[in-house]
């Protein structure tokens, strides 16, 4: 992607807090209409990157461009084009839903008649219309998050930055939330979001896997899966934890991950190792009910990339 085409261009940004290097030389580009996911464990640097993109935190070095505008040099020009929703959106809890929307609409200088129409439209999409007159403090967690999104979208931003938008939100609200995001993508809005949910990561157009302030890998979910070395076997049985420990160090095993009642085993060659693992487990007194090759998930890729040191 040529730099001038990117909706979001991040090149070699770094930021330290005291002695901690929160973000180190991070670069990525997001095309218009993409949903770009920043995935990683707590402390990986996701929030710091988003805050720098939003212009509320200055990077120590590097360059940031939104829609071709240098965020550091001309933050006032960038602001009307972007919207940033922190993990906890700042709603005024003793103001009603409608009053919150009106307040943010005025701050972003949305013209009078557009305010009503767009507010109405967004409220409907978020399913919040019946709650217009309710105080924001009396909404449920999911509804608050949706109201935050409505407020963040009232000025029709070109770029939307979301920091863990669905953390602590019930599944129904999460589904509504993603429906709104897909709708936005259709209308050409570029979305950069961070998430700790792996299922949510799979919904993104592209992903950056972050660890300790660095991007470990950056591709589409399919591309990341294809790039994972070796193959993945899912071993099911009555004592997954025991089998997990029993398989450590077996020939051809490159990684192990306990996933509920399964053990995900990364091996160099699935066809050859599957019978070997079954025999090895049987010799140690385990009776696996099934061993089969599966598609790796984002979590498996993460573990494959980082080893055991950074389980998300």
């Amino acid at each position: 992607m040529a730099p001038e085409e990117a909706a979001v261009l991040v090149s070699r940004i770094s930021r330290r807090f005291g002695t901690v290097e929160a973000v180190r030389e991070v670069s990525f580009a997001v095309a218009p209409g993409e949903i770009f996911g920043l995935v990683g464990p707590d402390g990986a640097g996701k929030t710091t990157i988003l805050r720098m993109l939003a212009g509320v935190l200055a990077p120590d070095s590097g360059e940031l461009r939104l829609d071709g505008i240098d965020v550091r040099a001309a933050p006032e020009q960038a602001k009307p084009r972007l919207s940033y929703m922190p993990q906890r959106f700042g709603l005024y809890e003793d103001m009603t839903v409608a009053e919150n929307i009106l307040f943010y609409a005025t701050l972003f200088a949305v013209p009078g008649r557009e305010r009503r129409e767009r507010g109405q439209e967004l409220l409907r999409a978020a399913g919040l219309e019946p709650f217009r007159r309710r105080l924001a403090g009396q909404l449920s967690g999911g509804m608050k998050q949706k109201l935050g999104l409505v407020c963040a979208l009232i000025h029709t931003p070109r770029v939307l930055l979301l920091d863990e938008p669905t953390t602590g939100v019930d599944p129904v609200s999460r589904r509504d939330f993603w429906a709104i995001l897909y709708g936005l993508r259709e209308s050409g809005v570029t979305i950069v979001l961070s998430t700790a949910y792996m299922d949510e990561a799979e919904r993104c157009s592209r992903l950056a896997l972050l660890h300790a302030g660095r991007i470990q890998a950056c591709d589409t979910p399919a591309g990341l899966k294809a790039a994972m070395p070796g193959a993945l076997l899912a071993v099911a049985g009555t004592d997954p934890r025991g089998m997990h420990d029993a398989l450590a160090g077996a020939p051809g095993v490159q990684g192990l991950l306990l996933m509920g009642d399964h053990v995900h085993v990364r091996v160099d060659d699935a066809a050859r190792r599957a019978p070997e693992l079954r025999a090895s487990l049987a010799a140690q007194g385990f009776a696996p009910s099934s061993i089969m090759e599966i598609e790796p998930g984002i979590e498996d890729i993460f573990v494959a990339l980082l080893g055991a040191k950074a389980r998300p």
């Binding site: 940033y84 922190p86 959106f89 700042g90 003793d94 307040f103 005025t106 972003f108 200088a109």
Partner: protein
């Protein structure tokens, strides 16, 4: 610019209106403090617990004692029979002052000799002790002058009249030396300062804590617009405070208001700007409301003590006197007392008014600069 400021102001007043307790919190403490100060803050000493030991037990000694009782300033709590009882009364705190009339008092007085009289006061509270001693010496000297042998040459032509100094006491501006006249105007400044500084600091720190501050800062609003939006409501509340306590002082405590209300308004406005600057500065130094609370506490007491509200600045050591120069309350107290009691105008008050203007400018400027940085 105007739209965004208007949005901020609308929001502030909306929040204030929704806050059911806001009016209560803003008005009730103000009135209670004014009442408490109006009645309690006084330098007058009354009903001093006094122990008495009359070893002379004569008509003269009883006459002196009745003088003490008649003033109403002394309550005789113990009539002792020996010196050890006096010591016990002072030690236990039962008595603050002890008057001992030694044997031979009446005889010496009649002979025109020095009559022995002893006064012990509990100096723990130095102020009360000093004032009580003052009363006692007044009473004694009056008594003394009445019992001096009045031997005067009556009709000698060549007699030289004795030189007499006559001290005419005429306290200006407060002829009755009423303490409330001194304290009520001072309370206006003190209470307004405390209220406005803490309101401002807490309001901004709360937005930071809740996360709305970050949200607002990603909008195209400028820090100056945000700060104006946050401070204008508190400026108005502060003016309301001043008006309320002034009205209360004039109507309830009958403190005269002889000056020009416009000068009072000017002084109050400059003072409030400085107070807002101080509150804003506090908010940039605190990440949480607890920190703001601690800082506020740390700041308000010295501001109060170093203002001249109760303790004269002229009596402070030089380095403390210098510290009072940057205390806006110091100047406002001068202005407000002058306007209330003296009725003087700008020609006299301009140095204090300009000092407040300078302080307001410096504090507001500094806090706006710091506010930008504190967002990181």
């Amino acid at each position: 610019m105007f739209d965004r400021l208007q949005a901020m102001l609308m929001k502030e007043f909306l929040e204030l209106r929704r806050d059911r307790w806001a009016m209560f919190r803003l008005v009730v403490p103000l009135l209670i403090q004014t009442l408490a100060f109006g009645y309690a803050a006084t330098f007058t000493v009354r009903h001093v617990a006094t122990a008495l030991l009359d070893l002379d037990n004569s008509q003269a000694s009883r006459g002196l004692i009745s003088r003490f009782v008649a003033t109403g300033r002394f309550n005789i709590v113990d009539v002792a029979t020996r010196a050890s009882e006096i010591t016990r009364d002072l030690d236990s705190g039962r008595a603050t002052a002890a008057i001992v009339i030694h044997a031979g008092f009446a005889r010496d007085l009649a002979n025109g000799q020095t009559a022995p009289l002893q006064v012990n006061v509990d100096g723990t509270n130095s102020n009360t002790a000093l004032i009580a001693l003052g009363y006692i010496s007044q009473i004694v000297s009056l008594y003394e002058s009445e019992h001096l042998p009045t031997i005067r040459p009556v009709s000698t032509m060549d007699a030289v009249p004795a030189v007499e100094l006559s001290l005419a006491e005429r306290p200006w501006f407060n002829p009755g030396i009423e303490d409330t006249w001194f304290f009520i105007p001072g309370i206006i400044g003190t209470i307004t300062l405390i209220q406005v500084v803490s309101l401002t600091a807490f309001a901004i720190v709360r937005e930071r804590e809740v996360g709305t501050l970050e949200q607002i800062m990603v909008s195209p609003i400028r820090p100056v617009e945000f700060i104006l939006g946050k401070t204008v409501p508190f400026f108005l509340i502060g003016l309301g405070d001043v008006a309320l306590v002034t009205a209360f002082g004039v109507l309830w405590f009958h403190v005269p208001f002889v000056g020009n209300p416009l000068i009072m308004l000017l002084g109050a406005s400059l003072f409030l700007l400085a107070a807002l600057g101080l509150g804003l500065l506090l908010s940039t130094l605190s990440r949480t409301q607890q920190q703001a609370f601690a800082l506020n506490f740390f700041l308000v007491n010295p501001l109060f003590i170093l203002s001249g509200f109760a303790f004269p600045i002229a009596a402070m050591p030089a380095w403390l006197r210098w510290l009072t120069v940057i205390n806006p309350l110091r100047y406002f107290l001068v202005v407000i007392r002058a306007v209330f009691l003296k009725g003087v105008g700008i020609t006299v008050l301009w140095p204090d008014l300009s000092a407040m203007a300078l302080l307001a400018l410096a504090l507001l400027g500094l806090s706006v600069l710091r506010f930008r940085k504190s967002l990181d």
